[in-house]
């Protein structure tokens, strides 16, 4: 089937199988391998992207459901010379080790901060990241990074 989606600001018209998943379209058709797949039960969150302004698990979205949507992936938020404040905070706070969960974690964290009513505290961040598994960091530095980034995101 034909779909058109806007990914990282670029519109793409693609012919994909009816049973294609958004995660596979991103990784295999568009070469955006920063979106990772770490489980098959929609739990780990390594595949989180933004779709029409909300963080979603792209392994649990059919390509057809994303037809017409605006999608932002980890590759679309910043680059080494111009990092998103959340990316910068992850680096600054050593909030990643193996890096595999990191793209999904960063995309979730950005959505969490953007949707927050007021200032997030540690508990809010821990609750807000319950849909993202990390096996390396024990979350300690991820929480620190998100708390630090929220100020930078507001001033950015």
């Amino acid at each position: 089937m034909e779909i058109s989606i806007t990914v990282n600001g670029r519109s793409e018209a693609l012919d994909v199988p009816d049973n294609a998943l958004l995660a596979d379209v991103l990784r295999e058709r568009l070469g955006l391998t920063g979106t990772h797949v770490g489980c098959d039960t929609s739990q780990c969150g390594a595949c989180v992207v933004h779709m029409d302004g909300a963080a979603v698990k792209s392994c649990t979205v059919l390509a057809g459901q994303a037809n017409g949507a605006e999608v932002t992936t980890i590759e679309g938020i910043g680059n080494p010379d111009n990092l998103h404040p959340m990316q910068a905070a992850f680096r600054e706070n050593h909030a990643l080790q193996c890096g595999f969960c990191t793209p999904g974690m960063i995309m979730s964290a950005i959505d969490l901060v953007q949707k927050a009513d007021g200032q997030l505290d540690e508990g809010d961040v821990r609750d807000g990241l319950e849909g993202n598994l990390c096996r390396c960091t024990g979350y300690h530095n991820i929480v620190k990074a998100v708390l630090a980034a929220q100020d930078d995101m507001k001033s950015a």
Binding site: T73, C98, F100, T137
Partner: protein, 781 residues
């Protein structure tokens, strides 16, 4: 001025730039032109005869390229997956090893064991083909329960009583004598729960074969690509090492589970050669649960004999260790040389006797998982020490202090075969007690009780042995490989440096810490250092990363190579400056001549080495590139004190960790930011074992906790922020004075949590993991 990117600085990581921008390159991100896809048909039964396999429908499925069975691999001369450490039983006999074909041939022994691999033009075609296979299984009763496995049905024809070995360590007679004169004996029966590693990146492999050169290339998620290559070449017989290149690109966490050589990459690389087409495989998480090697899984009875003043007199430990269905790559060493040898802990217990019976069951193979044997040992020692303190009415911290090996006792030879080089256990405990505000615990407990909650505090003073060594000792004890490491320093023409290490980073940050060492020692700007790893085509044979060894062993190799660079640089500089070699000094990136103002920068010397215009070619080879192998003379012995405080809701059994303090002695530290991160991650895994994680099989051998819906992974909202601090006694026998930090968190924390939970509940023991229902039941009693 201190080097801001040198040893001891909290330098931000080189690795991060690619990982935070989504440009890391993991195995599943790599594709090959014309690649096919492998799907493994996995046994639905825990134990069955495979009487036949009809692949005709599978082969007729659209898009299916091939179906390979265990018999196909055997017919092609593909060997078994070996176990690399031969443990000997009490009677001197070597362990009994069952056949372990990569793909099952005529029987299956655990749910998830592969019995065929289907290769398709697409993943979907391969899956369709796998579903169309018709396997004729004859189910047999499964052996699942470890405690009764020795008297259950025999799983392997050549393994009576399902026992691979019955091992002992220590002096039985001396230990019995110690118990005979004990004032008090504490005893404890404990189960160390099975864990499923769950690196967030599932295992994956891409096999390629170049018919023109006969060269095989395997990209895979390995912690030690050289070991992978050695096993695939020498044991599995894919091809000689020289025609087999194994590349581990970015790897998304390992925790031990990616040390081992598994069926899947074996079949993938073999099939690539057979088909002369690239073959790709990536585990789905459900496959990771079934077929990654699991961890822990012990049943233990421990007894501690004490004198009236609380002095430890003797320790007796009897353990049943679950091997699962087959011996995984290093499975045999985990409950023996990485477990029994740690039973002295931080204490001067004079007599220790450990017995370990390792048994087969119809479950996934069990092997090293973060800590590997040492968390199990710590759990035994620290649970029984805490139990003894409570039974004898001695403060738990005080009882430990009375029995600590004192700084003046080092080097200290334990009754279980290790010689600790250095340590200051009291210093770590004192610092931890201060951080934990031990003095204020009573008031906090009273406040909790007033709110209807139960509060407890628990200690764990652990020791571990890292950087497994020396090779000759390990080999004499059964190791099948050497345990050295290689480091190579290639100084480039303009003075930048490329490091090639046999260690592998899958989160540990070698690209940063090894560059810091170069920056410190050679004065080369940090940004001008690149660290390469994870490719047998780049580095010499080496052992990779496991057992917290990278810095202690790989870093030491690097130092030796740096020393060679400096030595040669001095020769070159002496020639260029017309001085005696002994007069040349090197510091901060500059060669100077004593008592003169003559000097050369490191890049100037490097340039001269490659453009040898003014160079002693008759005495010295051109170039500035050195490598070194380092075989450690001893283990390193990181140690520390962990203190956990919990508050329990007795109505629901929910355990809330209100504070966790870890004070660790890792010797010198290259990058404190990275070390703290390693500790945090280890703590999460240790706490996960204590409260959340449990690999559960039902009585028929089906894995009940086979997905994230049922296997409780620690999430952000399950954990507190940690208080992490260090003390320093430098390792006495490696050039950096470092000990290793990767596993400490997982080794020390579990016992601290369980000691806190039992303390809160006022009970002797609670099964692990202390889940809400378990705790609720204990709270009712």
């Amino acid at each position: 001025m201190a080097n801001e990117t040198g040893i001891g600085a909290a330098v931000k990581r080189k690795e991060d730039a690619r990982f935070i921008t989504g440009t890391g390159r993991y195995t599943d991100d790599i594709g090959a032109h014309g690649q096919t896809y492998a799907v493994f048909a996995r046994s639905p039964h825990a134990r069955a005869k495979l009487n036949g396999l009809d692949a005709s429908a599978a082969l007729a499925t659209e898009g299916v390229v091939a179906v390979f069975t265990g018999a196909d691999l055997q017919a092609d001369g593909i060997g078994d997956l070996p176990c690399g450490w031969t443990v000997h039983s009490k009677d001197g006999e070597p362990m009994v090893v069952p056949a372990h074909p990569p793909i099952a041939v005529d029987k299956v022994n655990y749910v998830g064991e592969p019995y065929a691999v289907v290769i398709g033009e697409s993943l979907e075609a391969a899956k369709n083909g796998a579903e169309a296979l018709e396997a004729d299984f004859e189910e047999l009763p499964a052996v699942v329960d470890l405690a009764s496995a020795a008297s259950a049905d025999q799983i392997h024809e050549n393994v009576p009583n399902n026992q691979t070995y019955d091992w002992e360590l220590g002096d039985k007679a001396a230990t019995d004598a110690a118990f005979a004169q004990a004032h008090h004996v504490s005893s404890l029966e404990i189960v160390n729960n099975r864990l499923i590693p769950n690196a967030i990146e599932p295992r994956a492999a891409l096999g390629e074969y170049d018919a023109a050169s006969g060269l095989y290339t395997l990209h895979t998620t390995s912690q030690n690509p050289h070991l992978e290559r050695l096993v695939l070449a020498a044991f599995v017989q894919i091809a000689p090492e020289a025609r087999l290149r194994v590349i581990s690109p970015d790897v998304g966490g390992g925790f031990g589970s990616k040390i081992f050589v598994y069926a899947e990459e074996t079949a993938v690389i073999w099939a690539a050669g057979k088909l002369r087409r690239p073959v790709k495989w990536r585990a789905e998480r459900s496959e990771s649960f079934l077929a990654d090697a699991h961890g822990r899984d012990h049943v233990t009875k421990a007894e501690l004999a004490l004198a009236e003043d609380g002095t430890f007199l003797g320790l007796r430990v009897k353990t049943l260790a679950n091997m699962g269905a087959y011996l995984s790559t290093f499975a045999s060493s985990v409950p023996t040389y990485l477990y029994g040898t740690l039973m002295a802990g931080q204490y001067k217990t004079p007599a220790i006797y450990v017995e370990v019976q390792s048994l087969f069951t119809n479950t996934a193979p069990v092997d090293a998982y973060r800590g590997a044997g040492r968390p199990e040992a710590t759990y035994v020692v620290e649970r029984i020490v805490e139990t003894a303190a409570r039974e004898m009415g001695i403060d738990a911290a005080e009882l430990r202090r009375r029995n600590f090996i004192a700084p003046s006792d080092f080097p200290y030879e334990t009754p279980v075969a290790l010689t600790y080089d250095t340590g200051d256990y009291e210093a770590s405990l004192a610092k931890a007690l201060e951080h934990a505000d031990y003095a204020g615990f009573g008031a906090r407990k009273a406040a909790s009780e007033a709110a209807g909650k139960k509060r407890g505090i628990g200690f764990s003073c652990y020791i571990e042995a890292c950087g497994l060594a020396p090779s000759q000792v390990a080999i004499s004890l059964g190791a099948g490989v050497g345990l050295f490491e290689v480091g190579e320093v290639r100084v480039d023409v303009t003075g930048s440096v490329t490091v090639v290490t046999g260690s592998h980073s899958h989160g540990q940050s070698h690209e940063t810490t090894f560059a810091q060492i170069i920056s410190e020692k050679l004065g080369v700007p940090f940004e001008n250092v690149t660290v390469l790893h994870g490719d047998t085509g780049r580095s010499d044979y080496a052992l990779g990363t496991y057992g917290s060894r990278s810095l202690a062993v790989g870093g030491s190799a690097l130092i030796k190579a740096i020393d060679k660079i400096i030595a040669k640089g001095k020769k070159i500089a002496a020639h260029m400056l017309e001085a005696q070699e002994e007069q040349v000094d090197f510091a901060d990136g500059t060669f100077t001549v004593a008592d003169s103002n003559q000097s050369l920068t490191f890049p100037e010397v490097a340039f001269a080495a490659y453009v040898p215009a003014n160079y002693p070619l008759e005495e010295l080879e051109p170039g500035l590139s050195e490598k070194a192998f380092y075989d450690p003379p001893n283990f390193t012995y990181p140690a520390g004190a962990h203190i956990c405080e919990v508050e329990i809701d007795p109505a629901t059994g929910v355990v809330d960790i209100t504070s966790f303090v870890a004070v660790d002695d890792f010797g010198h530290i290259v990058n404190p930011m990275i070390v703290e991160g390693q500790v945090h991650g280890g703590l999460a895994q240790g706490i996960g074992q204590a409260l959340l994680e449990h690999g559960v099989y039902d009585e028929t051998g089906q894995l009940v906790s086979g997905s994230y819906m049922d296997y409780t992974m620690p999430r952000a909202d399950d954990l507190p922020s940690f208080t992490v601090d260090t003390t320093v006694t430098p390792c006495t026998h490696n050039p950096l004075g470092v000990k290793g930090c990767g596993e400490a968190g997982a080794i020390g924390s579990t016992a601290a949590v369980m000691n806190a939970v039992t303390n809160a509940l006022g009970v002797a023991s609670v099964p692990m993991p202390a889940t809400p229902e378990t705790v609720w039941r204990a709270a009712q009693a």
